[in-house]
Symmetry: C2
Subunit: 206 residues, 2 copies
């Protein structure tokens, strides 16, 4: 059975959208989802990139875009009380318990109910005490670091991202392309991609 | 008649896609297009941001995504011989002659025919000699600077971007949202946007 590696971080509302749709997409295409919590800020730092939330005009635009998408998807949206917030704890919880139900529960707490999920106190009504405690262990921290490194090694540069058979699909809006790929109909001409890879740069800003 | 400010840079293949579709969209919605050449690299520098072409994994992904979109839109795609390239000259030409026909001609030379458009030599078969000469004048340089500053002032952070009535629509994939907006049916709840604007950050990476 084909495996979809679903890379996410709770900080991303687009990852929330994707988390609501990925299981159904997998089912339609006889695939299974492996839920991969990763730290978006580590990807951004690695690429020396700012996230949308860190550029004022982009931050505002991204939220409006999100409202439009949630309307189209008939998904409720209520932002958490702070953003950006520290997503390390729920991510580490998800490393310990990488199950669709639990992860979707956390996404909905944050983006549908607009609750904080960034502290033990915030999470104590959502996650059992043992898991919460384990999530602060060195092992859990290492699991998240390893996941994030694997994402980087796989060519992931943002969230949400699905990787299948080495092919990267970035963003909730890539789902139709992903589905077409799974049906064997991805129209990418690999010879053109190779040519693009080899194109020299005749101008460089950096 | 409603005016769509269409901000573009030839360096962006997504702007090529958008340039092929924007006039028809305007026509369908009884709008007119004002073509606004701007320098993408100036936006990136202003926001301390890297463009997709400047992050290896993202560069490759972006091109594949582009191939998928061009396939869906039945638009031919052949990249120019170098990328990134210096788009100042064709942008300054476009400031002098901001006409759909000429600008589309330049986009197609670059992204459909895969020709260079970054030098007088490259452009001499596409643009008349007087315009090419004028494009190197201080006035033309200033026009491009002014356009780019106006884009920044309008909240533009990337290309292609359409601004209409102060509302920003970024990316070729925003065109359906733009059209819905023009039909008076944008589902954005402004009270939620205001709340988002005021959300405090409880974590900061930078």
């Amino acid at each position: 059975m084909t495996t979809l590696q679903f890379y996410f971080d709770f900080i991303s509302p687009y990852a929330y959208l994707a988390s609501e749709r990925i299981e159904a997409l997998a089912l339609r295409n006889q695939c299974q989802v492996v839920w991969r919590p990763i730290l978006l800020s580590a990807l951004l730092t690695h690429n020396q990139q700012r996230g949308p939330a860190e550029i004022p005009d982009k931050r505002r635009y991204t939220f409006k875009n999100l409202l439009r998408l949630c309307h189209d998807e008939k998904l409720p949206l209520q932002p958490p009380p702070d953003h950006p917030f520290n997503s390390l704890l729920p991510l580490r919880v998800s490393c310990l318990r990488p199950q669709a139900g639990l992860i979707q529960h956390l996404f909905r707490a944050c983006w549908k109910d607009g609750r904080p999920i960034d502290s033990s106190d915030a999470l104590k009504d959502l996650i059992d005490e043992d898991t919460l405690k384990q999530a602060t262990s060195p092992e859990a921290k290492q699991m998240l670091k390893d996941n994030t490194q694997q994402a980087l090694d796989a060519g992931v540069f943002g969230v949400p991202t699905v990787v299948v058979g080495g092919e990267v699909f970035w963003g909730f809006d890539s789902f139709p392309h992903l589905e077409r790929y799974l049906q064997g109909q991805d129209p990418v001409d690999s010879s053109l991609v190779e040519r693009w890879d080899r194109l020299p740069a005749s101008a460089s800003r950096l």
